[in-house]
């Protein structure tokens, strides 16, 4: 009778629960970073708590401000380091929280994961419920090991057909945002299904779940199919706790999307849900290109970018910033020669982390610049300058635009 979300939350609440109920659920894993972490610690202390209840379930990952830009942030970082050391919490400086949390093995099917970052939704790719919360809720869960939640209703998205060549998870995600709108997933979960899943790679699924945050969804979840099982077991993890929806599960709404009908997509300033086919923006001057972030900074993304770079002798015409999602991604980019090729074409290779995505690390555009980015948000001022415009697209579209200095006419 239950959706994936109802069934996982039933397990975590220790009783059968349905959409609409307010429950207290056991949290399996908690992610925090250097933006929200210090604030969570502040709440933790003000609440009068002593120690965290399950330190082994928590990871704190330094990603927003890397390398540390000033003494003020150094103080915040120190606060995070000290807290982790005092409480036996794992701290990592290896890249973007969502990427590193996954690399460290916290993402296991059937889990309830919370993170003090909205793009925690990314981990739904592995059949997890992964929810972004604030710093105070993070502190609360660190104290109690549980969190109160409203069981969300679920929108079922059925994928039919398969992706056209040159179309990626990012394009699917932007298309879905254009259908659902910025508030379309608010208070709701999204569950994916359908034969089209077989044409979506794990990287595609991570990108789609990441961008679910942009329609305000509480979480987005893929069922654990053979593709996911293979990926999870290849990393030495178990899919044994995977949960599947019941045949008679009740959904708020059902959408069917033909993957074969989706063209390369682009989001126009300053809302990710204003997404149109790339062809509608063809010819637009591009001054800066950004490849990276928790949305599209994975090795699979750089592999596709490299394919485009190998097609031409030309250097980048736009100022191009490349930010691998983690040290592991960067190492692999170097082994495979991707990093060398990007740099040879004039890209600036920045340290693994959030980079300029939300203006927290360097890479601020100048006045009047048109930026094309693989990130997830293009709000006014998002990258630190209100007098620049941000377009969002797949790594391949961004790489093509960076080479031409314009949004390409053909996909």
């Amino acid at each position: 009778m239950g959706t994936i979300v109802e069934k996982i939350l039933s397990r975590k609440a220790g009783k059968d629960v349905r959409a609409g109920e307010i429950i207290t659920a056991e949290v399996d894993a908690i992610l925090t970073n250097d933006a929200a972490g210090p604030l969570a610690i502040d709440y933790f202390r003000k609440m009068g708590a002593g120690k965290v209840v399950h330190p082994e379930r928590i990871a704190a990952i330094v990603d927003h401000y890397v390398p540390c830009p000033n003494s003020r942030v150094a103080g915040l970082h120190q606060m995070l380091y000290d807290f982790c050391s005092d409480n036996g919490i794992r701290l990592s400086t290896s890249g973007i929280a969502h990427q590193v949390f996954d690399e460290l093995g916290y993402v296991i099917p059937g889990r309830l994961i919370i993170g003090s970052d909205s793009h925690t939704t990314t981990h739904g790719y592995a059949g997890c419920i992964a929810i972004g919360v604030g710093a105070s809720d993070t502190a609360s869960a660190m104290i109690d090991g549980e969190l109160w939640l409203k069981v969300p209703e679920t929108i079922l998205v059925e994928f039919k057909g398969s992706l056209r060549s040159g179309v990626y998870g990012k394009d699917v995600a932007l298309y879905l945002l254009s259908v659902l709108g910025a508030a379309g997933g608010n208070y709701k979960a999204i569950e994916f299904t359908g034969e089209g899943l077989s044409s979506l790679s794990i990287a595609d699924r991570k990108t789609i779940c990441n961008l679910a945050a942009e329609c305000s969804a509480k979480c987005a979840v893929f069922p654990v199919d053979s593709i996911a099982e293979e990926y999870i077991s290849s990393r030495g993890l178990s899919a044994g706790e995977a949960v599947y929806p019941d045949k008679d599960a009740s959904y708020l709404e059902k959408l069917t999307i033909d993957l074969g009908s989706i063209p390369p997509m682009i989001s126009k300033p300053a809302r990710s849900d204003i997404a149109v086919p790339v062809s509608e923006c063809a010819g637009l001057r591009i001054d800066m290109a950004v490849i990276g972030t928790c949305t599209n900074g994975r090795i699979e993304d750089f592999m596709e970018v490299d394919r485009i770079l190998c097609e031409t002798e030309e250097p980048f015409r736009s100022e191009t910033l490349v930010i691998p999602a983690s040290q592991a991604v960067l190492s692999e980019m170097m082994e495979r020669g991707y990093a060398q090729r990007l740099v040879a074409k004039g890209a600036m290779l920045l340290p693994p982390g959030c980079g300029p995505c939300c203006g927290s690390s360097p890479g601020t555009p100048r006045d009047g610049m048109n930026v094309i980015s693989t990130a997830n948000r293009n709000f006014i001022g998002r990258m630190g300058n209100v007098r620049s415009d941000i377009y969002l697209a797949s790594p391949v579209t961004v790489a093509r635009a960076a080479l031409k200095g314009r949004i390409p006419r053909e996909d």
Binding site: Y65, S136, S140, N186, G381
Partner: protein, 173 residues
């Protein structure tokens, strides 16, 4: 059991947390009292100077969407704003508001115009919202369960402190 009265300052749909407080500002400090001067600066420069005692925010759909950053709720509180009225809230902002003792009231706000005086009173039978210009009187259900308990305590810090105090009392008895 509590009364509020003040001027409404109005916003549209999908006001994201980056607009409430730009992420780039958090590089300098995370102290909400220092950040409050930057509230809404990117979409409404000079907004902080309009805030006077009792002010409420009124907005359309999905207020507080985007990042889950809690500073966006903290600075509203730091600005002395206790009530936000919106057609709907992004769920992460809704929780953050409650956890910081700011009441998120979900209702139709289409009749509220900039500068309207709004009065809000809470009681056991519900939350009464009156737009003094139009006379429109809306009654919302009271906050239930833990959300209600957290708001009643003034926020999640106070709520948790109270809980620890109760537990300690229980142990010593």
């Amino acid at each position: 059991m509590a009364e509020y009265r003040g001027k409404a300052l109005c916003f549209g749909d999908n006001i994201n947390t980056d607009y409430i407080i730009a992420s780039r500002r958090k590089k300098d400090t995370i102290n909400p009292d220092e950040l409050v001067k930057y509230i809404m600066e990117d979409i409404r420069p000079g907004f902080s100077s309009l805030i006077e005692p009792g002010v409420m925010l009124a907005a359309g759909e999905n207020f507080g969407c985007g990042s889950a950053m809690e500073v966006a709720a903290q600075i509203v509180k730091a600005a002395g704003i206790s009530i936000i009225i919106a057609k709907s809230f992004a769920r992460s902002y809704y929780r953050n508001a409650i956890n910081n003792g700011v009441m998120p009231l979900e209702m139709d706000t289409s009749d509220i115009q900039e500068g309207d005086i709004i009065s809000v009173s809470t009681s056991d039978d519900g939350i009464h919202v009156v737009n003094e210009r139009t006379g429109r009187h809306s009654v919302l259900p009271p906050f239930a369960g833990k959300a209600g308990d957290i708001l009643a305590a003034g926020g999640i810090i106070e709520y948790t402190q109270n809980r620890f105090a109760q537990e300690k009392k229980g142990e010593t008895q």
